[in-house]
C-alpha cells in the first residue's frame, strides 16, 4: 500500500498532493468564511494572491540568493525547474502580499486568520503526505514494529506521524464549536501545530546541523513558536476581556 502510494506520487508528482490540499483547504475555508463575517470572494482572492506571491516570491528569493549564477545564465530565472525555489523567501513574500491585500480590503486580521485556519490545517496534511511520497523528512532508524523501510533502513514513519497529527488537529478544530473570541481558533491551531512538531521532530533522522552538537534546531524553533502562541493567546484573551 505504502509502496503503491509512493510510486503513484513519486517526485515530481508529489506536488499534486500539495495542489489537492490547497484546493480542498480553500473549499473548506470558503464554507466557514461567512461565520467570521468575511465574504467568500475576499477570502478566495486573498488566498489566490497569496499563492501567486508564494510561487513568484520563492523563485525571486532563490535568484537573489544566487545572483552571480543567474547573471551568467539569466534564462534560468524563467526555467520550469521547481527546484529553483526558496520556501522561506516564498512564505515571507506571500505573508507580505496577503497582509497588504488584506489591508486594502479592510479585512480584520484575527477573523481572517480564523477563517483561513481550515486552509492551513489541510495544507499541513498535504505537506505530510507529500513528504511521505517523496521520502523526505524521514525518521531515525528504529526496531519498532511500525517502522517503515526507507533509504535502506527501517525508520520511524515521521511523515505518517506528521500527517496523523495534522489530521487530528484539523478534526479537533473543525468539529469544535466556533469560538466567539476572534483569533483564538487560529492561535489554538498554531499552538497545536507547534506542539506536534516539537514532539515529532525528535524522531526525524534528516537533521544534519545540530545546536551545541546535540539539540535539534527544528525542535527549538517549534518550542519558541509554541511560547509565542501562548503569549499571543494570553494577550488576545486579556484584550477581549477588557473590550467586554
Amino acid at each position: 500500500m505504502l509502496t503503491l502510494f509512493r510510486n503513484l506520487f513519486a517526485p515530481p508528482r508529489h506536488m499534486i498532493l500539495l495542489v489537492i490540499a490547497a484546493w480542498l483547504g480553500l473549499t473548506l475555508a470558503e464554507k466557514r468564511a461567512k461565520q467570521y463575517g468575511l465574504s467568500k470572494d475576499d477570502l478566495n482572492n486573498l488566498i489566490f494572491y497569496g499563492l501567486i506571491a508564494f510561487v513568484i516570491g520563492g523563485r525571486l528569493s532563490f535568484v537573489l540568493q544566487n545572483i552571480t549564477t543567474f547573471i551568467k545564465s539569466p534564462a534560468g530565472i524563467i526555467s520550469i525547474n521547481p527546484d529553483i525555489f526558496d520556501p522561506i523567501g516564498a512564505t515571507a513574500v506571500a505573508l507580505i502580499i496577503a497582509l497588504v491585500y488584506g489591508q486594502r480590503l479592510s479585512l480584520s486580521l484575527w477573523p481572517t486568520l480564523d477563517a483561513l485556519t481550515p486552509f492551513f490545517a489541510i495544507l499541513a496534511i498535504g505537506i505530510g503526505l507529500s513528504h511521505l511520497a517523496a521520502g523526505t523528512a524521514f525518521g531515525k532508524e528504529t526496531s519498532l514494529p511500525w517502522g517503515i523501510d526507507l533509504w535502506n533502513a527501517a525508520r520511524h514513519p515521521t511523515q505518517i506521524y506528521e500527517t496523523l497529527a495534522s489530521l487530528l488537529i484539523f478534526g479537533l478544530l473543525w468539529f469544535q464549536k466556533q469560538s466567539p473570541r476572534p483569533g483564538i481558533h487560529f492561535l489554538t491551531f498554531a499552538a497545536f501545530t507547534a506542539a506536534s512538531h516539537l514532539f515529532i521532530e525528535a524522531f526525524r533522522g534528516d537533521t544534519s546541523t545540530l545546536i551545541f552538537n546535540s539539540l535539534n534546531p527544528n525542535q527549538v524553533i517549534a518550542w519558541v513558536a509554541l511560547a509565542l502562541c501562548f503569549l499571543a493567546l494570553e494577550s488576545r484573551i486579556t484584550q477581549l476581556k477588557k473590550a467586554g
Partner: protein, 215 residues
C-alpha cells in the same frame, strides 16, 4: 449549579421553542461559559509554563547526535551508493574512487525527452567546471534502453564526459530510481548534497548545485 443544565434540557426538548429562543439560549449559555467555566489567568499561565517546561525536557531527552550520512542511500545527506560500471569502450569507473571531486551522477535513457533536453546544459557545465574537480557520470539505464542507440546519442550531442552502461539495473536499483532523468550531486566527501528528480535541468540550477557540491 443545576439551573443552566435544566434550561438546556428545557430548550433542547421543547419542540415549540422558536429558532430565536434557541439562538438566544446558545449565546447566553456561551457567554455564561466565558464568564464561569474558563480558567483564570493564573491557571492559564501555570498551564503554559508546565507545557513549555515539558517541551524543554523533551528537547533535552531527545537530544542526540545526527545520523545523517552514516549509511549509504540515494538521498541528500547520505553517502552516495557505490557502483562500478563500464563505458561502451570498456573503460571502468568506480564512484568511490572519485572521492575528492564533486560528482554529478545523471541517470538517463535515450527515449526520455527531458534527458535529451538537459544534456547540452550538462555538457556545458562539465566543460566549465571540470578543471575545478567536477566530474559527470552519465549512467545510461541500458536495461531499460536500446544499447545500440547509446553511442549515436553520445556522438549526436557531442558528450565528452564518461557515459556508463547500467546493463543489469544495479545502479537503477541502488538509487531506487522512480523517474528519469534523476540527478545526484555528490560533494568531495562522497555525500549527496542534492537530488533533482525530473528535468530538464537549466544551466542556472546546475550551476547552483555544482558550486554547492564543490565547496
Amino acid at each position: 449549579m443545576f439551573k443552566p443544565f435544566r434550561e438546556l434540557l428545557i430548550v433542547r426538548f421543547d419542540k415549540t421553542a422558536t429558532t430565536e429562543k434557541r439562538i438566544h439560549f446558545y449565546f447566553t449559555s456561551n457567554s455564561r461559559q466565558l464568564t464561569q467555566n474558563t480558567m483564570s489567568q493564573s491557571q492559564r499561565i501555570t498551564l503554559y509554563i508546565l507545557i513549555l517546561m515539558a517541551g524543554a525536557a523533551w528537547i533535552s531527552i531527545s537530544a542526540g547526535t545526527s545520523t545523517v550520512g552514516t549509511t549509504s542511500a540515494p538521498q541528500a545527506g547520505f553517502t552516495a551508493p557505490d557502483f562500478t560500471l563500464k563505458t561502451p569502450t570498456g573503460e571502468e569507473y568506480t564512484l568511490s574512487e572519485l572521492k575528492g571531486n564533486a560528482v554529478l551522477v545523471n541517470l538517463w535513457a535515450t527515449w526520455c525527452p527531458p534527458c535529451r533536453a538537459e544534456m547540452p546544459a550538462i555538457q556545458k557545465m562539465y566543460d566549465e567546471y571540470k578543471d575545478q574537480g567536477f566530474i559527470v557520470l552519465g549512467v545510461n539505464m541500458t536495461y531499460q534502453d536500446d544499447p545500440f542507440t547509446v553511442t549515436p546519442f553520445v556522438e549526436e550531442h557531442g558528450l565528452t564526459f564518461p557515459i556508463l552502461l547500467d546493463e543489469i539495473g544495479n545502479v537503477g536499483t541502488a538509487y531506487q530510481i522512480r523517474s528519469l532523468p534523476s540527478s545526484y550531486f555528490i560533494n568531495r566527501l562522497g555525500v549527496i548534497t542534492e537530488v533533482v528528480i525530473g528535468g530538464p535541468m537549466s544551466e542556472a540550477l546546475l550551476r547552483t548545485r555544482i558550486e554547492e557540491a564543490l565547496k
